[in-house]
């Protein structure tokens, strides 16, 4: 039982090596094996969370080597919870987009699922590790997998994927540079030791520079305004099987890493003194919330709209880190899970829509609501949660963040956080209005009907759509909508039972 935590990143990591080989010999086996890998990881996360809740946080030494020689996993309420959230969302996304993966991965499903497993392994590794350098390695593992996954999305995705690679690598390298400064100042890579040493001594300029580099690097990875430029293209052009896997979790984990830095590396209150990182995050976050929502309102492509919406939501997490109070950090962490569920629901619904009608411009989706009731119902739940209507998940992250802002006397935070509901409502209710309240159009307008990347993968019989593609649409197969419905239900459940999560998991986790 003591070895369970190693399965969280270990199971997907090992299987990511096996799956590509397996794909050559027995193609049909790769999906179940990949799903099994992620399911094992989720299960191990659940066990770990249970153990943490029973017996308190513990440390797991990989291979039994104690730090500083070995690598340490820090298993506390927060990391176990976030890891459970990531793996669950990833599992549902993987199952729901299996049909897309079959199309998009072409004749090499093994490679696709290998990368997906590698991504999950990297992300869980980032979440669990207690070692600064190990975090870099996992960050780059996850990023490499993400670059590869984005890249297979067709022509435009190639260019978007390459730019993602360049910018993501800058982010990773900046992070490593920052770690170098910390290491030379403290002589340790263990987060716990670094926190002790940084807390006991006067912080020099080197540490301050290190902190700045680390946050700049992670800010790039999470798409914090103004470092977000890679994100919309990557999300829009990524394959449908991929963006519902990457969008809910990838940038969130970078945000989590930032939280981890605040919580477990730098001493409490470090960023409010000589280093104005907290203020910078606060300001950038507030700008990002507004910018992301406004930019999302200007998009007609569903996935690009959701991508800008992600920028806004990630900025929300940055605001939480910027405020820095336990309640704000807990709110940001709650939002990591909430947003994974909400955005996962929305992206999976977008994938399901494309699967059935091959469309992704919102104005072409008119009349789809009654024809795909489960998909669009889930989309509506996700949208309502994003707007922040109680008692869905989205409301409560805003609720706690507003409270944290009030406690800190930061009125502007309260105003922006609350007003962001309205900005979100502008673009999401517009989409809902199209989907439910407008009649189906005889023909999709704009070039984008069945956009070129979709065309490549559509079976010839389905493309090009002759007439009334929406009018002929029907609900997606059950293996697509069941995970989607589960995720939509999770967004409501996360809201209704948020108090238990806050009290038992997050607030103890962020209180030193």
């Amino acid at each position: 039982m003591d070895q369970i935590p190693v399965f969280i990143p270990g199971a997907p990591l090992l299987l990511s090596l096996v799956v590509p080989l397996l794909g050559r010999a027995w193609r049909r086996s790769v999906f179940p094996v990949a799903a099994l890998g992620i399911a094992l990881s989720a299960l191990a996360s659940a066990f770990t969370l249970d153990r943490v809740l029973e017996g308190g946080p513990f440390r797991y030494w990989l291979g039994g080597w104690a730090p500083p020689v070995g690598i340490e996993y820090a298993l506390d309420e927060v990391s176990a919870f976030v890891s459970l959230a990531i793996t669950s969302v990833a599992l549902l996304a993987l199952i729901s987009t299996r049909r897309w993966a079959e199309r998009e991965a072409g004749d090499r499903p093994g490679v696709f699922y290998g990368l997906a497993l590698l991504l999950v392994a990297g992300l869980t590794g980032i979440v669990l590790t207690g070692d600064l350098f190990n975090l870099f390695v996992f960050l780059e593992i996850a990023s490499l997998a993400a670059y590869g996954l984005v890249f297979i999305g067709g022509r435009k995705a190639m260019v978007a994927g390459f730019r993602y690679l360049i910018i993501g690598s800058i982010g990773g390298t900046l992070y490593l540079l920052g770690v170098g400064f910390i290491y030379f100042a403290t002589g340790t890579l263990s987060m716990a030791e670094a926190q002790e040493l940084l807390g006991s001594s006067e912080s020099g300029r080197a540490v301050q520079a290190g902190a700045a580099f680390i946050f700049a690097g992670l800010g790039l990875k999470m798409g914090l305004v103004p470092l977000h430029l890679w994100l919309p293209d990557a999300y829009e052009h990524a394959p449908s099987s991929v963006n519902s896997l990457i969008a809910p979790v990838m940038t969130k984990v970078a945000g989590y890493a930032m939280l981890r830095m605040t919580l477990s590396v730098f001493p409490p209150g470090y960023f409010t003194g000589a280093v104005p990182i907290a203020d910078a995050l606060l300001v950038l976050g507030l700008i990002g919330i507004v910018f992301g929502s406004v930019a999302a309102a200007a998009q007609s492509d569903l996935r690009r709209m959701l991508a800008y919406s992600s920028i806004s939501q990630l900025a929300f997490i940055a605001v939480g880190i910027g405020l820095g109070t336990p309640l704000a950090l807990a709110a940001a962490l709650l939002h990591v899970a909430n947003h994974a569920a909400m955005k996962g629901t929305l992206f999976l619904a977008a994938a399901s829509i494309r699967l059935r009608v091959g469309l992704q411009r919102t104005h072409n989706l008119a009349g789809l609501g009654p024809r795909m009731p489960v998909t669009m119902g889930a989309f509506a739940v996700g949208a309502v949660a994003m707007v922040g209507i109680p008692p869905t998940a989205g409301f409560f992250s805003k609720w706690y963040m507003a409270q944290a802002g009030l406690q800190a006397g930061q009125w502007i935070v309260v105003a922006v956080v609350l007003a962001s509901s309205l900005l979100t409502a502008v673009y999401l209710f517009r989409a809902l209005e199209q989907v439910y309240l407008r009649p189906a159009k005889p023909e999709p307008s704009g070039r984008h009907h069945n956009g070129e990347d979709a065309e490549e993968h559509q079976p010839p019989s389905a493309a090009p759509p002759v007439r009334g593609v929406v009018a002929r649409a029907s609900e997606a197969p059950w293996d697509v909508w069941v995970p989607l419905a589960l995720l939509a239900a999770a967004t409501v459940a996360l809201g209704v039972f948020n108090a238990a999560i806050m009290e038992r998991v997050l607030l103890p986790g962020v209180t030193p």
């Binding site: 350098f133 870099f136 390695v137 780059e140 490499l144 670059y147 590869g148 890249f151 022509r155 435009k156 190639m158 260019v159 978007a160 994927g161 390459f162 690679l165 360049i166 690598s169 800058i170 990773g172 390298t173 490593l176 540079l177 170098g180 290491y183 030379f184 890579l189 293209d233």
Partner: protein, 125 residues
């Protein structure tokens, strides 16, 4: 003045390399040059780690080496950990460069060009 410069030389060298790398990635239209910039950028950080662990007159941390069998004064050895870390970082960097180059091959096959501006024009079509 000179001593200050000498003491900070590793930092300054790292900074120069970082800026060159950034320029390569941000300022160049050719995607190949962007990859070169990325490599320079990563190398800068690797050099930073190595230079940070450097000690004047120290040697390899092999206990039975030049200093005799029982000698264990840490001041006489360079810190091995950054070197080990950088081995990993180099592997990561090589991995990224390899992936980037394979991307470039695919992009060239698809678009027939590696000029960023032309590619972005293609994207807008």
């Amino acid at each position: 003045m000179i001593e200050d410069f000498a003491a900070r030389f590793p930092y300054i060298a790292t900074a120069i390399l970082l800026v060159i790398g950034l320029y390569g990635m941000m300022g160049k239209r050719s995607l190949v040059k962007q990859v070169i910039g990325l490599t320079i950028f990563q190398s800068a950080v690797i050099l930073f780690f190595i230079s940070g662990s450097l000690l004047e007159g120290a040697t390899l941390p092999i206990l039975h080496g030049v200093h005799g069998p029982e000698h264990a004064d840490p001041d006489d050895f360079v810190n091995p950990l950054p070197h080990v870390l950088m081995l990993t970082a180099i592997v990561v960097g090589v991995g990224i460069t390899g992936v980037a180059l394979s991307f470039l091959i695919s992009i060239y096959r698809e678009f027939g060009t590696l000029d960023e501006r032309e590619l972005l024009d293609e994207m807008r079509k």
